[in-house]
């Protein structure tokens, strides 16, 4: 699967992105890495240009909710990207625990999955996507 991996708009952390790239490649995926501080417009442009099978957004700076919402809304506003699978992982806020309300808003806005720090969940999500890719 071709995965577009990206940080979020206000997040300058990169060790998470370096790690996830290796992790995804070790699971046999092709990875296009955009790096940190990717705003919603840049993300949508990159998706149109690279035509990935799935988008993985990672945030650890505590603004994952705000930035993630902007990002997924921008993707869903683009007709060509309306059905592109998007998964958001990492920290949604600064309080250190998941807020159900925030998760629901992100799902309502078009995220296919909102994960915390659990890589097994990411692996499972991608495995399901990989299966649905197989032509019927």
């Amino acid at each position: 699967m071709k995965i577009l991996l990206s940080g979020t708009a206000s997040d300058s952390h990169t060790w998470n992105l370096v790690y996830l790239r290796l992790f995804l490649e070790e699971h046999g995926h092709e990875v296009v890495g955009l790096g940190p501080c990717v705003d919603a417009g840049l993300l949508a442009d990159a998706c149109l240009r690279h035509a990935p099978d799935t988008v993985v957004l990672s945030s650890v700076n505590g603004h994952g909710y705000r930035d993630g919402l902007d990002a997924v809304r921008a993707l869903r506003a683009e007709p060509a990207l309306a059905a592109l699978p998007v998964v958001l992982g990492g920290k949604l806020g600064v309080v250190g625990r998941r807020q159900d309300e925030e998760v629901r808003s992100l799902l309502d806005a078009g995220c296919d999955a909102v994960l915390g720090d659990d890589l097994d969940a990411l692996r499972a999500f991608l495995a399901v996507r990989a299966r649905t890719e197989v032509p019927a």
Partner: protein, 463 residues
């Protein structure tokens, strides 16, 4: 009479550190920043009153850092909590009131931010009467975002000129070059970047600078790096430019245990004294999880100061003239200086050609062909050097670079200090000659630890 005449000679930030060094005292400094002016003032007052030889810090919030000044102003207007002091959103009068009666010749205050475009911050700090800050065209650009390096260089040229022009005394600028990404960058490149950025500052008018270095994985290697930094600063900085070396307590994944975190901080204080650093930026155990409180900052300052006071006098410099780190750094500095007479042109050219190449840095202007690794003895070395004029360590590239290997490397220091009662123990080991045996045993245990995917999420780091 000019404004400069109203400032007593030798009253600047650099002069304060120089005087402390001459008196055999290590200056310790927090990374403290609060959005609320009253809390910021309390933080500075407590820093000043700590049982330690301190300078104060105003760490700027991340909205201001990325130039989102409207967002910073809006947060101030509606009372939203910020992760630092929004120096360009508060009025100069507010900042003067924060500093009033605290900042002075006996307690200088430095503004720390992390901005690739620092002009608004420099204007705000000078308007409030401050004259010491930190950064650099490369070190505040590459690790933190996607501002093009050329734009950062141009912005830092203007920032240097503004700082010199708008400060009545002797403004001070610290290079963050020895801290690139915080960890897993072999020391030669860190030392070279500190020297190059301080040269850049000097060529754009600064007469007082400091050269940084962040504690890495091995105390003896760090000591060699710090000595190389002293030597290269003396060789390359123009005569008349006052300078000192500043050490950062380990910036990567921090020990999770209270005792491990404490020992790592103390080890950095001893390293600073042993290698003749003038100043130490401390880290609190809480920092890995959240913004530390004033109390936690004061505790870290006092812990470091006590460890420094017990460390005795600096050891004599016994490093060989042709030490590996010195040679690597000197080669990099000379290579860059040879590219173009203007450093503002030479630095982007060096990155464009991969002659400088920061390992594991994702910035679009970084070649990304270099890679470091921690050898079995615990030293940080080059697995790959890309197009840099350096030789990688032979055979180092044999092991594949994997996600679990990366996690093990990122957690190497934290694991060691969490596990052992003497995470550094560097003096004892050197004395009894058991150093390599001990280190190999430690590294072997680290290798067996389960850090594979599934147990830990993408590592969260504060740099």
């Amino acid at each position: 009479m000019t404004a400069a005449a109203t400032v007593p000679a030798g009253s600047g930030f650099g002069a304060f550190v120089a005087a402390a060094s001459a008196a055999g005292r290590l200056v310790v400094q927090p990374r403290m920043g609060f959005g609320d002016p009253d809390l910021m003032r309390t933080g500075l007052a407590r820093t000043r009153a700590a049982t330690a030889h301190t300078v104060g810090t105003l760490t700027v919030d991340s909205y201001t850092r990325v130039g989102a000044l409207d967002a910073a102003r809006a947060a101030v207007a509606d009372g939203t909590r910020l992760n630092g002091y929004p120096i360009a959103a508060h009025s100069p009068d507010t900042t003067r009131a924060v500093l009033d009666g605290l900042r002075g010749p006996g307690f200088p205050v430095q503004v720390r931010h992390g901005s690739a475009r620092p002009e608004a911050i420099v204007r705000a700090l000078t308007a409030a009467g401050l004259d010491a800050t930190e950064g650099g065209p490369v070190s505040y650009c590459l690790p933190y975002g996607r501002t093009p390096l050329r734009e950062s260089v141009a912005a830092w040229v203007r920032a240097c000129e503004l700082l010199t022009e708008l400060s009545p005394g002797t403004p001070h600028l610290e290079s963050f070059g020895g801290c690139l990404l915080g960890q897993l960058c072999p020391p030669g490149l860190l030392v070279a970047m500190s020297v190059l950025e301080c040269l850049f500052f000097a060529r754009h008018g600064l007469r007082s600078v400091s050269l940084s270095y962040a504690q890495q994985t091995d105390a003896a290697q760090d000591e060699e790096a710090l000595r190389a930094l002293h030597r290269l600063a003396a060789e390359f900085l123009p005569a008349g430019v006052e300078h000192h070396v500043v050490l950062y307590t380990y910036m990567g994944v921090y020990p999770r245990t209270e005792s491990g975190a404490l020992r790592l901080l103390e080890a950095s204080a001893r390293l600073a004294v042993r290698s003749g650093a003038g100043r130490l930026i401390v880290k609190t155990a809480a920092e890995a999880h959240r913004i530390p409180t004033v109390d936690e900052n004061v505790r870290a300052l006092e812990t470091a100061a006590a460890a420094a006071a017990l460390a005795g006098a600096p050891a004599p410099d016994t490093a060989p003239e042709d030490g590996e780190i010195y040679q690597e750094a000197r080669t990099l500095v000379e290579t860059v200086l040879g590219l173009h007479p203007e450093l503002s042109r030479a630095l982007p050219a060096a990155f464009a050609r991969g002659l400088l190449d920061v390992p594991l840095c994702l910035h679009p202007d970084n070649a990304g062909r270099s890679l470091g690794f921690i050898d079995p003895a615990g030293r940080l070395r080059w697995a790959r050097t890309g197009a840099m004029p350096l030789r990688p360590d032979t055979g180092a590239d044999a092991a594949p670079f994997t996600s679990s290997g990366l996690l093990t490397a990122l957690q190497h220091v934290a694991d060691r200090y969490d596990r052992d009662r003497d995470g550094d123990g560097e003096q004892d080991r050197r004395r009894d000659g058991a150093r390599h045996h001990d280190d190999a045993a430690r590294s072997g245990r680290a290798g067996r630890r389960d850090t594979g995917p599934g147990r830990v999420a993408a590592p969260e780091l504060t740099v």
